[in-house]
Symmetry: C2
Subunit: 415 residues, 2 copies
């Protein structure tokens, strides 16, 4: 028998229960469309049914729980996030947003509210790119923006193709259009910041102005693999020191644009053949550049292209540059943001308007309907890491604000 | 029926035949104690038996072919190399030395020579470190220098332990002492240079003065893995740019000691967790420093330790440094080298005395008995790579010199 606690204390119960799923000593592993992720979704659906919501799962695996409104034909107020994790991820990224929404709805029900508009909670499928290299698949499908043919044949580390992974759960790219929605009034997502801006500034809540969608590319530097003992230093065509210079150029160009909130990261560096006695003949780097200011982001990309060419010419190496995606920044709804800010002000909760460096489902939803994204602080700014953490007080404050914002929206024009 | 050609043309026949084994589109793969490597050894044994040599395989898998001398009780003139390769290696590293020896012996037989001293050809087991991370295992055992307990439990990529790999072929660390020899007069190895010194200087043969045994270590740099989009540049504790600075420090310190023939290489760079949207929390580097001048090598190691500490302090990162081996340079026998030089002079073959940056079985043998190591040029200095190549003319010249040197040694005091 599941305990139903009064107030927001139920949140920690939900989080503890769902985080038993996919938990390992190295972190949480609930990769998209795996047994673990789907079990977490199942836990969500059952928890929603227990408080009387009506559940369904769409054609790509997005899970919904609906609280019918007084007028079922009105557009829907939607709130939610995702339950999939990166490899060895943390307990709150996405997961907090889903159960904060559930806890907010549970609280509204407990308060005896009757929503005028229908209210739904959503768990988006495949938000993280960790399994197939493509992110926010579920919300893209909802927003009618998923290019199925670009995604269908992507392969995970075990050689499983995206298509097959979906079909094994009964979902399909062929029925993708069924996942698109045109009945939404608005979307709200609450999420951990995954950075340390709020913590550093001692603020309790972030209201996101815009999301810095990433520009991503793969750089391959090719030299000549040869014997590490027998090749004198000046005869070498070692790809790794060139890659090292490029990695530092990426860091420098990010630092130069810090004032604009732009960041640049090399997260993947693969060295071939990768033996101690062989000079590296090839290095592949994957680079992620993000910023809400398009000009700033472009300056970084331009400078890196020039740097790469200069480094490789100087070292007599070959290079190639392959784009892995280039998305434009997305802006959140000013009216909704104002409504969040009002709730904070009334309750004397300190907040800041801020850009988001991380991509979120709200980024796709904002193209479909007015959307808001709310941040709670991340301890030490740590995320995508099992040490990911947020003070209980901050988690509950987030639910409180979300609850009040949702209440005002579902009663819009009524109260 | 195998063709037996006159003169040295048989060499290319041998090489072609043995290099059908373990050949892939990415290069040659005859890793130590694999089916492919043992098949190559089997081919060698059969080729030796065809010309009347008596074969045996010892307790660690070293293969021998013996040409009995007039006086079987005299110490043995030994000549040979190895048949195992690195991953995606080339067709000549080791392999040339084995079949050059066989071709030299075949030629001496054809010339009607009767050796006074016994002459043996050896194929050493597990010369390359590519499978278990430890090199020249067979020759270490012959020289009585193999520390079995340090090697026994080493594991390959597939989780196979060294011990088990040996036992599966009937060899064993438990009978290691049986492989040690005390009946050797001298050892000669011929090998491709694997560097471009001979080619760059237009010389036909290298006579190795000393072998720069490697000092190897693993460096681990630890920062904090966090979200690549949400963590501003100056809040990061990214392990990868620190690793990049260290990689460049390794290159710089090698270049600074170039005059002493010292080289320094980072061949392995592993980034964790290795995802495009996660700032690297940990990087592991494997470094290989080689030089025939101990002081020069030590200067590189000292400077790198200081650099690492400086880089990590500056960037608020943790580091660790684990030695993977630190061997002293080994010098070849001056008398034997002089004998090789005489043969070259008589035949107007251009040669140079030179150090070897690469480790070889001769390095262990030199601790046991007077030893020589002869180099033929490598095209473009390329080795540990399928493009590894040497002009046919140079390969045959090597056999000619080896043949003459062996002849003088087995007839020592007779002709």
């Amino acid at each position: 028998m599941e305990r139903i606690l009064v107030g927001h204390r139920q949140l920690s119960y939900y989080l503890q229960a769902v985080n038993e799923i996919g938990k390992t000593t190295a972190g949480w592993n609930r990769l998209a469309y795996t047994e673990a992720e789907r079990s977490a979704v199942q836990y969500f659906l059952e928890a929603c049914e227990k408080i009387g919501l009506v559940t369904r799962v769409d054609s790509v695996g997005n899970a919904y729980a609906r609280w019918e409104g007084v007028n079922p034909d009105l557009p829907v107020v939607l709130c939610g996030s995702h339950l999939d994790t990166v490899r060895n991820g943390g307990p709150l990224d996405g997961t907090y947003g889903v159960f904060a929404a559930l806890e907010a709805v549970r609280t509204l029900k407990e308060q005896g509210i009757t929503p005028y508009f229908p209210l739904e909670i959503v768990v988006f499928a495949c938000e993280e790119s960790s399994r197939f290299g493509v992110s926010t698949v579920g919300s893209k499908a909802v927003a009618g923006q998923l290019e199925a043919d670009k995604v269908r044949r992507l392969m995970d580390r075990d050689g499983i193709v995206f298509d097959e992974a979906m079909v094994s759960w009964g979902y399909s790219f062929d029925r993708i259009s069924e996942a698109a929605r045109d009945d939404l009034l608005l979307f709200i997502e609450i999420h951990i910041e995954q950075g340390s801006t709020l913590e550093s500034n001692g603020e309790q809540l972030g209201i996101v102005t815009g999301i810095a969608a990433p520009t991503r590319f793969q750089v391959t530097i090719s030299g000549i693999a040869s014997h590490s003992g027998a090749t004198m230093m000046s005869y070498r065509r070692d790809a790794l020191p060139a890659a090292a210079e490029f990695i530092l150029a990426v860091e420098r160009s990010g630092l130069a644009e810090e004032g604009y909130g732009t960041v640049a990261t090399v997260g993947v560096c693969e060295v071939y053949p990768g033996a101690m006695n062989v000079i590296p003949g090839e290095v592949r780097l994957q680079v992620d550049v993000r910023g809400i200011e398009s000009d700033s982001k472009q300056r970084v990309v331009n400078e890196l292209r020039m740097s790469l060419d200069y480094i490789c010419q100087k070292r007599r190496l070959e290079w190639s540059w392959n784009s892995l995606g280039d998305e434009a920044p997305v802006f959140m709804n000013i009216g909704l943001n104002q409504s969040v800010a009002e709730v904070c002000s009334e309750r004397r909760i300190s907040y800041r308007f801020m850009p988001s460096g991380a991509g979120h489902d709200a980024m796709n939803m904002a193209r479909l309907c007015p959307s808001a994204l709310i941040f709670v602080p991340s301890r030490g700014g740590i995320s995508h890491n099992p040490a990911e953490d947020t003070d209980e007080e901050d988690l509950l404050l987030g639910v409180e604000v979300l609850c009040e914002v949702l209440k005002r929206q579902v009663m819009l024009g009524v109260i």
